[in-house]
């Protein structure tokens, strides 16, 4: 059952990700991105990362994509016009680079990129995945966790300052 669910989510993920980069309308792209993030959250659930799956939906599919949609609608963008020889050339180069990267990944796979499971200390999962992550986050990773709060503060201040625009020069009527 689980492998079939994984394959289903994976197919949905790849299809929606392709639609994100192929669709001409940025609003549709953003909505397909929400769908692909949601299917990725499903894959996280199947991979026994329940907390990450929920955070994926709340942070990515919720907060990030609302911000994206807000900006797209604020800028009032229409369908992208993508014509001309130069753009066709760039599109060809882009897909070729993608094919090369996939080929490289295939070569790595042939060499055996995954070694067998290394017997690490099994995590203490009493109380579920979220409780276990909380215990690790507030003990071993406490300092990076606190640094994260500074990062978010800096990003928030930076975004406000940037979005406010330039101050009008003195003596000039707004």
């Amino acid at each position: 059952m689980v492998p079939y669910l994984f394959l289903g989510f994976a197919a949905l993920l790849v299809a929606t990700a392709l639609m994100v980069i192929l669709h001409r309308n940025p609003v549709t792209s953003a909505l397909f991105l929400v769908l692909s993030f949601s299917s990725l959250a499903g894959i996280y659930l199947l991979l026994q990362a329940e907390f990450i799956g929920m955070v994926q939906i709340i942070v990515y599919a919720g907060a990030s994509m609302v911000l994206f949609l807000f900006v797209i609608m604020y800028l009032n963008l229409q369908h992208d016009v993508e014509k001309g020889a130069q753009i066709a050339l760039r599109r060809g180069i882009g897909w070729m680079v993608g094919a090369l990267l996939l080929l490289f990944a295939g070569l790595l796979a042939k060499k055996g990129w995954v070694s067998g499971p290394v017997a690490a200390l099994p995590p203490d999962t009493t109380g579920g995945n979220a409780a276990a992550i909380g215990r690790v986050l507030y003990s071993r990773f406490l300092f990076p966790f606190e640094i994260t709060s500074i990062l978010l503060l800096v990003a928030m201040v930076g975004a406000i300052v940037l979005a406010k625009g330039r101050p009008a020069p003195q003596g000039e009527a707004e």
Partner: protein
């Protein structure tokens, strides 16, 4: 039980889709979304390896990557809004001057 190889193959495919999106599209917002796709591909690899190694450290890393991605989205979208106010376009090949 899902083999780790499957998750890694999916991660590779997702990353390549993101790379192609960055190279092919000229709308700065869609390029941004493609970067998000690549970050998510890395997250998927982290989660797959965390499960294989039977350790939580990979999931903690995903948590931090998500934080960085959220900060990046906020600042990047502010930059794009500013750029649009200045140049009336979000197409990256029409934005070719350092001077505002």
């Amino acid at each position: 039980m899902i083999p780790t190889e499957w998750a890694l193959a999916l991660s590779a495919v997702l990353f390549v889709i993101g790379v192609v999106g960055v190279l092919v599209r000229r709308n700065a917002l869609v390029i941004f979304m493609s970067i998000e796709l690549m970050l998510n591909a890395a997250n998927l690899a982290f989660v797959a390896f965390a499960r294989q190694q039977n350790s939580l450290d990979g999931q903690i890393f995903v948590f931090f990557v998500m934080t960085v991605a959220a900060a990046e989205v906020a600042v990047g979208l502010a930059i794009i809004v500013n750029l649009f106010r200045l140049r009336e376009t979000v197409f990256v090949d029409e934005i070719n001057l350092l001077k505002g």
